[in-house]
């Protein structure tokens, strides 16, 4: 099974709606609630990063037996130094975005903690692809 959602850059009023749809689907499929909780945190942070930092993007979630694989790819500025961006507290969020409570520099660390495998590829001035994999039993 595979699900696709469009993510619009800058549209904070809809931020999180793709993650919320996936949460509903995983619950309907009776995936272990602990697994759903982790996946949802990671998906939301990747979705909001597209909204906050990129122009537009797509979330693709593939469900297989015992595995959830999500790919969030965007067109945007890209990340020049991924290791730096992964550090807790590092953020280039604008003052407007910070005022809303985003920009703590905790999104990527949250993703890392809440999936089993994380792979980030980015090209400056082109875009970023975040691929996260979660394994589960039952």
């Amino acid at each position: 099974m595979e699900f696709h959602y469009h993510i619009e850059g800058g549209d904070f009023s809809r931020a999180g709606s793709a993650s919320s749809e996936i949460k509903k689907i995983l619950k309907q499929l009776n995936v272990d609630p602990r697994v759903v909780k982790r996946v949802v945190v990671a998906l939301y942070e990747a979705e909001v990063n597209v909204v906050a930092h990129a122009r537009e993007g797509e979330m693709k979630v593939a469900l297989g037996p015992g595995v959830i694989e999500a790919t969030i790819s965007d067109k945007g500025p890209g990340i020049p130094d991924i290791a730096l961006a992964m550090q807790e507290g590092y953020s280039t969020a604008s003052p407007r975005v910070r005022e809303m409570g985003f920009g703590a520099g905790m999104g990527l660390p949250n993703i890392k903690k809440n999936c089993d495998r994380l792979d980030i590829e980015s090209v400056v001035n082109a875009g970023t692809t975040v691929k996260m994999t979660t394994f589960f039993t039952g």
Binding site: A15, G16, E45, V48, G101, A104, M106
Partner: protein, 118 residues
């Protein structure tokens, strides 16, 4: 403890999401940083914050937060209130600041889990 049991001690005004007044409260989390809440808040907790925009409800829903308390008299905007109604997650406003509200909630939760005391 139920959500509605916080109303009097915390001087709460119920703004929206009142279908959720009977939800069970398991704890509290106080933060204005959204990804801090995303990473660390747990299901059933009450979220105390000054942030009153729509994304607060998106996060509260994803995290299965029991209720949101807006401090220092903040009120939810229209979008936030209608999202709260839709999700059934109560949003309250209190004149207290985050420190005072957290202190009182902490006391209530302790009293609720140690019967016979206080």
């Amino acid at each position: 403890m139920k959500v509605h049991e916080m109303i009097q001690p915390l001087a709460l005004v119920a703004c929206s999401g009142q279908q959720g007044l009977d939800r069970e409260v398991s704890g509290g989390y106080t933060s204005d940083l959204l990804s801090d809440v995303m990473g660390h808040a747990r299901e059933g907790q009450v979220w105390i914050t000054i942030q009153a925009h729509r994304n607060v409800i998106a996060i509260a829903s994803l995290k299965e937060i029991a209720a949101v308390i807006l401090v220092r008299g903040r009120r939810p905007d229209e979008e936030t209130a209608s999202a709260s109604d839709q999700e059934g997650i109560p949003v309250f406003s209190t004149p207290l600041d985050a420190f005072e509200a957290s202190g009182i909630l902490h006391g209530l939760l302790n009293a609720a889990t140690t019967p016979g005391e206080g």
